[in-house]
Symmetry: D2
C-alpha cells in the first residue's frame, strides 16, 4: 500500500512543484509537509489558500487510496475547506484521515497546522471516489 | 475598482507561478484563464484540482472584492468545490460571480471550463469576507 | 419521469410534514414551495435553516433523479448550503437544477427565494448519487 | 452559558417539532438526541437528511454560541454535510464541536451516530457567526 501511495504521489507534478514531502502513511491516514515559498503566496504575502488546499486534497486523497483495493484509482469528487487563519509560518503540516469508507465513496477530513501551533489554521471535509478500469486512470 | 483588483492580483505569487491571466473584470464578476502545465498536474496527468481551485478561489475572491468598499481587503472564509470531470484540456476559463453581498460576507459561485466545452468541469460555492483595518492586510 | 418523481416525493413523510408542494418538474429541474410555519422556526422566529435545507436537498435530489435511468434510486452524498439572509417571509420558492450529470454522480445547484424577492436567501451545491439494485432502496 | 443555550434552544419550534433533546452542553461542545419518527422520513423510510442536518446545524450552532460573548446572537453562515450511510436506527446521537473560534466566525464539526454504532453516518463542517446589536436577533 505504501508503495502504491508513493508511486502515485511521485507522478504528481503539482506536489513536486510545491515541494511537498510525504512524512507519514498508514492505513486511513497520511501526513505531508510544505514550506512557505514566495512563489505560492496570495496578495498579503501568506501562502495561498490554493497551495494549502492542494496539499490537503492530496493528503485526503491518499488517505482514501490507502484503504481502497489495489486495483482502484482515486479521484476527488468534492471538498469543503474552511480557512480559520492566514497560512502564516515557515513550515506547514497537513494531515488527511478517513472518516468512513464505503464501496466507492470515501469521506475524509484534513487539517493544516503552521509551525508549532496545535490549532489547525485550515480544515477540510472531502469526498473521494474509487475508480476502476478507466483507461489512463490508475493510482 | 479595476485598478484595485489588478494591483492586488499582481501581488499574488501564486497567480504568477500558475501563469494566470485576468481576462475580464466587472462589478460582481471576474474571468481568468489558465493553461495546462506539466508542473501542476496530478497523478493521471490532468491539471491538479488544487491549481483549478486556486484560480476559482481567486476569481471568486476578486468578484467579491469588486463590490466591496475601497478600504476593504478580501479574505476567503470557505469554499466547496465539485470536480465534475478531470481538468483535461489546453486552456481553462474560470469565472467568479457574486451571488449576494452582505455587509461583511459575500457569497460567490465559480465555474471552470476546458477549451470550448460549454459545460463546467468544476464548480465552486465560496464565502468571502471583507476585512477592515487589519495591519498588513490590504487589497 | 414525472410520475416517478411524484411517486417518490409522495413517500416522503418529511415533505408532507413540512407541507411542501411540487410546483414544477422538468428534466434536470424541480421547483417546490414551502410556507412559513411556527412549528419549523429557529430561535429568532425565522424558518429554521434545516427546513429550508430539507427542501433544497429534496429539490436537488429530484432534479438529479429526473435525469437518471428509470431503474435508479437517488441518494444525497453531500451538500453545502450558504444562508445569505434569514428565511423571513410567508412563502418560499425552492429550485433545484442539474449542473452536470455523470454516470453515477450528479451535481446540482439549489436556490431559495422568499416571497417576491428575486435574490436568493440561500444557495446549495449538492452531490447526488444513483443507486442500483439495493434492497429496499427504490425511487 | 448553559442557561443561555437552553433558553435559545427552547425558542426553536423546529427542535420541539422534531422532538430533539439536549443531552450535554459544555464550552465548545453540545450533544443532542433525536428519535426515528415516520413524520420525518425520506422516500426509502429512513430519517430524512434534512432532519439530521437540522439537528447537526443546531448542535454546531450552540457549540459556537457557548464560546461567544454573552451579548452575541448566533447565526449559521454555511455548512457542508456528508451522508455516509442512511439514517437507519431508532435513536440518533448528534454532536457539535468547536474547531476554532475567531472574533466573529466560529468553525465547528458535527457528527451523527445511529443507536450504538461508533462510526458516524453523517458529518458536518459548519461556519457560524456572532451577531451583535441586530434588532430582533438575540440568543
Amino acid at each position: 500500500m505504501l508503495a502504491r501511495v508513493r508511486a502515485s504521489f511521485d507522478r504528481q507534478g503539482m506536489m513536486a512543484t510545491l515541494g511537498v514531502q510525504v512524512t507519514a502513511v498508514e492505513p486511513g491516514r497520511v501526513e505531508m509537509s510544505l514550506r512557505h515559498d514566495d512563489r505560492f503566496t496570495q496578495q498579503h504575502g501568506f501562502l495561498h489558500a490554493g497551495a494549502v488546499a492542494s496539499v490537503l486534497d492530496t493528503a485526503c486523497g491518499y488517505a482514501a487510496f490507502s484503504v481502497m483495493p489495489p486495483e482502484a484509482a482515486v479521484l476527488t469528487v468534492s471538498y469543503t475547506i474552511n480557512l480559520l487563519a492566514p497560512a502564516a509560518g515557515e513550515r506547514f503540516t497537513i494531515t488527511g484521515d478517513v472518516v468512513r469508507a464505503g464501496r466507492t465513496l470515501v469521506v475524509c477530513r484534513g487539517e493544516a497546522f503552521a509551525d508549532d501551533d496545535k490549532r489547525p489554521f485550515a480544515v477540510m471535509q472531502a469526498t473521494m471516489t474509487a475508480v476502476y478500469g478507466k483507461p489512463g486512470i490508475s493510482g
